[in-house]
C-alpha cells in the first residue's frame, strides 16, 4: 500500500515536472534545456518574495509564476527565436541559458539547507492506513488539475487549438493564419509557468537547491522520451511508469538509484521503442 500511494505521489510530481518541457517541445520543436533553471528560479523567487519582501505567500506565488512566464517568453523572444530551426544552436543556446541561470544562482550563495518554502497547509491525513502529509495531497491535486486544464484548454479554446495545430504541422498551421512565432512564444511562456507551478507544488516538500535544476531537467527529459517526445498523454503515462519504478527501487534496493532508474528508462526506451510509447506520429521523422 505504501508503494501504491507514494508511487502515485511521485508519479504526479514527475508529471508536473515534465509537462512544461513536453508542451514546449511538442509545439515548437524546441528542446528547452533551460527548463530546470526556470523551475529553480521560481522557487527562489517565491522564497525571496515571502522572506525578503514580506509579501503574502499566495501573492508571492502568483507574482513568481508571472515572472517565470515572462522569463520564458523573454528567452524565446530575444534569444531562441534567432536560432530557431538550427538544431545545434537551439540545443546549445537553451542549455547555455539554463547553465548561466543556475550557476549564477549558485554563485549568489543560494545553496544548502537554508532555503525552504513552507507547506501550504500543515498536517497529514491517513489514506488506507498510510500517513501522507497534506502538502503531498495538494501536489497530487495540482497535478491532476494541470493535466485536466491542459486537456480542456487545448481542445476547447482557440489558442489551445492553434497550439495543437502547430504541433501537428507547422506549415499548414501558418497557411491557416496561425502566427507560428506568436504561438511558440505562448508555448514557451506556458511551459515556463508550468515549470514554476511544479516548483511551487513540489519544493515545499524539501529544500530549494540549485542541483534540483539539473535533476528536474533530467527527470523531465526522461519522462518525455519514455512517453514519446511531444506527446502529452504519453508523458503522463510515462510519469506513472517511472514514478512507480523509482518508488519500487527505493523500497527494495536503495534510494541512491533514483536517477539511475531515469537513465535506464531512457536507454531501454531508445533501444526497444525509440519513439516512445506514444510518439507515433513523429516516428518517421526521428528514426533513422
Amino acid at each position: 500500500m505504501d508503494i501504491l500511494i507514494y508511487g502515485t505521489i511521485n508519479s504526479f510530481s514527475l508529471a508536473l515536472m515534465a509537462i512544461g518541457f513536453t508542451l514546449v517541445y511538442g509545439i515548437s520543436r524546441l528542446p528547452n534545456f533551460a527548463h530546470g533553471a526556470i523551475y529553480v528560479i521560481t522557487g527562489f523567487l517565491v522564497w525571496s518574495f515571502v522572506n525578503l519582501l514580506g509579501l503574502h505567500y499566495l501573492l508571492g506565488i502568483l507574482l513568481s509564476l508571472v515572472i517565470a512566464g515572462l522569463v520564458g517568453a523573454a528567452i524565446y523572444q530575444f534569444i531562441l527565436i534567432r536560432v530557431r530551426g538550427m538544431a545545434t544552436s537551439e540545443i546549445i543556446a537553451s542549455y547555455a541559458i539554463g547553465l548561466a541561470i543556475l550557476e549564477a544562482l549558485r554563485w549568489k550563495g543560494f545553496k544548502g539547507m537554508t532555503y525552504t518554502l513552507p507547506p501550504f497547509i500543515e498536517g497529514s491525513v491517513e489514506i488506507f492506513g498510510v500517513p501522507v502529509d497534506l502538502q503531498r495531497v495538494i501536489m497530487v491535486g495540482i497535478g491532476a488539475v494541470v493535466v485536466a486544464f491542459l486537456w480542456l484548454f487545448t481542445h476547447y479554446n482557440k489558442i489551445g487549438l492553434a497550439l495543437r495545430g502547430m504541433a501537428q504541422d507547422e506549415r499548414a498551421a501558418m497557411m491557416l493564419g496561425i502566427d507560428s512565432d506568436m504561438m511558440a512564444l505562448i508555448a514557451m511562456a506556458f511551459g515556463s509557468i508550468l515549470a514554476g507551478l511544479a516548483a511551487i507544488a513540489i519544493l515545499p516538500l524539501g529544500n530549494i537547491v540549485v542541483e534540483a535544476g539539473y535533476r528536474v531537467l533530467i527527470l523531465a527529459i526522461a519522462v518525455c522520451i519514455v512517453g514519446g517526445l511531444g506527446s502529452w498523454f504519453g508523458a503522463v503515462l510515462a510519469a506513472f511508469i517511472i514514478g512507480f519504478a523509482q518508488i519500487i527501487t527505493d523500497a527494495y534496493i536503495a534510494s541512491h538509484f533514483r536517477m539511475v532508474v531515469a537513465l535506464l528508462a531512457i536507454i531501454i526506451t531508445l533501444i526497444l521503442r525509440p519513439s516512445g510509447l506514444f510518439g507515433r506520429q513523429k516516428e518517421l521523422e526521428e528514426r533513422v
Binding site: V83, A87, A100, M259, L263, I266
Partner: protein, 338 residues
C-alpha cells in the same frame, strides 16, 4: 541618400593567390608557398614555443589548455562534421581519467601504457554507452550525453565506489614538466591535422552526408549507425585521452572530472573560435582556458560567464573568429553597384 545605400552591395571574391595555391601552382614561387605555410607554421611553432616563453605559473595552464583543446576538437568534429551535439564532454574526461587512474594505481602500469589503454578502452566504453542514442536523429544524442556525467557522478558519490568523493589518489606523474607539456602539445597538433585530413577523405564525406542528408547515405547502402559510432569513437577517444592525461597531471582522479566545466568550455570555445574549422576551436581554448584560470577565484560564476559568452556568440556572431579570419585571408571585399 537612402536610395544610394540600397544601390550598393558588398561583393566577396577569392584572392588570386588562394585559387593558385589550391593546385600544383602552389609550389610555383615562394609567395604561394608562404601563403600556405605561414599560417600553419605560425600555429605549430607558436604552440611549441609556449612552454619556453610562459612564466612559471602559466606553465601548468599549457597542459590544461591542450587537454581542453583535445575535447574541443572532438566536440567540433562531432557537431559540425557528423551533426551530433554532445553536451557531455565531462563523460569522456571522467571515463578516461578514472581508467588511467585505476590502471596506474591498481595494476601498476606505467604512464606510457595507461594513457593509450585508457584512450582506446575509454573510447570503446563511451561509444557503447552512447550507442542507443546513435540510432536516432534529433535531440536524443544531446540529451543522453547531458545525462551520463550527472548520473555517473551521482552513482560514484552514492555507492562510494572508485574512491567515492575522495577520488583515486597517488596516480603517477610525468617524469618532468617538459615531457608533460611537449607530449600533449604534440598530441594536439597531431590530432588537429589528422582530423583535418580525415574530414577530407572519403569517410569525411560520409560523415558530412550523415549530417546533411542521412537518407542519401542510407540509400547508398551505408549504415548510419556504424558511421556515427566511428565518429563517436574518434571524438570520445580524444576526450578520454585528455582525461587520462589530466589524471596524470593532477596525480589524482576524482568526481570533479565529471564537472560541468568539461562540458561547457569546449562548446564555448568552439562557438567563439568558429565551428567547423577545427583550428578555430583550438584557438578558442587558448583564449578561454586562461580566462577561466583567472576566474578560478569566483567559483562557479565562471560557468555562468562562459554560458553567457556562448549565448551571445551563438545568437549574434555565430560564425566565430576563425571563419572570419579565414574569410579575410582568402577573399577580398569591395562595394559594387547593383
Amino acid at each position: 541618400m537612402k536610395m544610394e545605400m540600397g544601390e550598393r552591395r558588398k561583393e566577396r571574391l577569392d584572392r588570386g593567390i588562394k585559387v593558385r595555391t589550391e593546385g600544383i601552382y602552389a609550389i610555383s614561387s615562394w609567395e604561394e608557398m608562404n601563403y600556405l605555410l605561414v599560417p600553419r607554421l605560425a600555429l605549430i611553432l607558436g604552440m611549441f614555443a609556449l612552454p619556453l616563453v610562459m612564466p612559471a605559473y602559466w606553465q601548468r595552464v599549457i597542459s590544461y589548455v591542450c587537454i581542453y583543446a583535445l575535447l574541443t576538437l572532438g566536440f567540433d568534429f562531432l557537431a559540425h562534421f557528423v551533426g551530433l551535439v554532445s553536451l557531455g564532454g565531462a563523460l569522456f574526461v571522467g571515463v578516461g581519467g578514472y581508467l588511467a587512474a585505476i590502471l596506474n594505481t591498481s595494476f601498476g602500469l606505467p604512464v606510457v601504457l595507461t594513457i593509450p589503454i585508457a584512450t582506446i578502452a575509454g573510447a570503446i566504453i563511451c561509444t557503447l554507452l552512447l550507442l542507443p542514442a546513435l540510432r536516432l536523429r534529433g535531440v536524443y544524442f544531446a540529451i543522453v550525453t547531458l545525462m551520463y556525467p550527472l548520473v555517473l557522478l551521482r552513482i560514484i558519490e552514492a555507492l562510494n565506489i572508485l574512491g567515492g568523493t575522495e577520488g583515486i589518489l597517488g596516480v603517477a606523474s610525468f617524469p618532468n614538466k617538459w615531457v608533460e607539456q611537449y607530449l600533449i602539445i604534440g598530441i594536439v597538433i597531431f590530432s588537429l591535422f589528422g582530423l583535418r585530413r580525415l574530414v577530407n577523405q572519403d569517410i569525411g564525406l560520409v560523415f558530412r552526408g550523415v549530417k546533411d542528408n542521412d537518407q542519401a547515405v542510407r540509400a547508398s547502402g551505408l549504415s548510419i549507425t556504424i558511421y556515427k559510432s566511428i565518429a563517436v569513437f574518434i571524438a570520445s577517444g580524444l576526450g578520454c585521452l585528455g582525461g587520462a592525461y589530466l589524471a596524470h597531471v593532477y596525480m589524482w582522479a576524482g568526481i570533479s572530472q565529471f564537472a560541468l566545466d568539461f562540458s561547457i568550455l569546449p562548446i564555448a570555445a568552439t562557438v567563439i573560435g568558429g565551428g567547423g574549422t577545427l583550428v578555430g576551436p583550438v584557438l578558442g581554448c587558448f583564449m578561454l582556458v586562461p580566462i577561466s584560470e583567472l576566474l578560478r577565484s569566483v567559483g562557479t560564476l565562471r560557468i555562468a560567464f562562459y554560458a553567457i559568452i556562448l549565448t551571445v556568440f551563438i545568437v549574434f556572431r555565430s560564425e566565430g573568429i576563425m571563419v572570419y579570419a579565414q574569410r579575410k585571408y582568402h577573399q577580398f571585399e569591395r562595394w559594387v553597384k547593383v
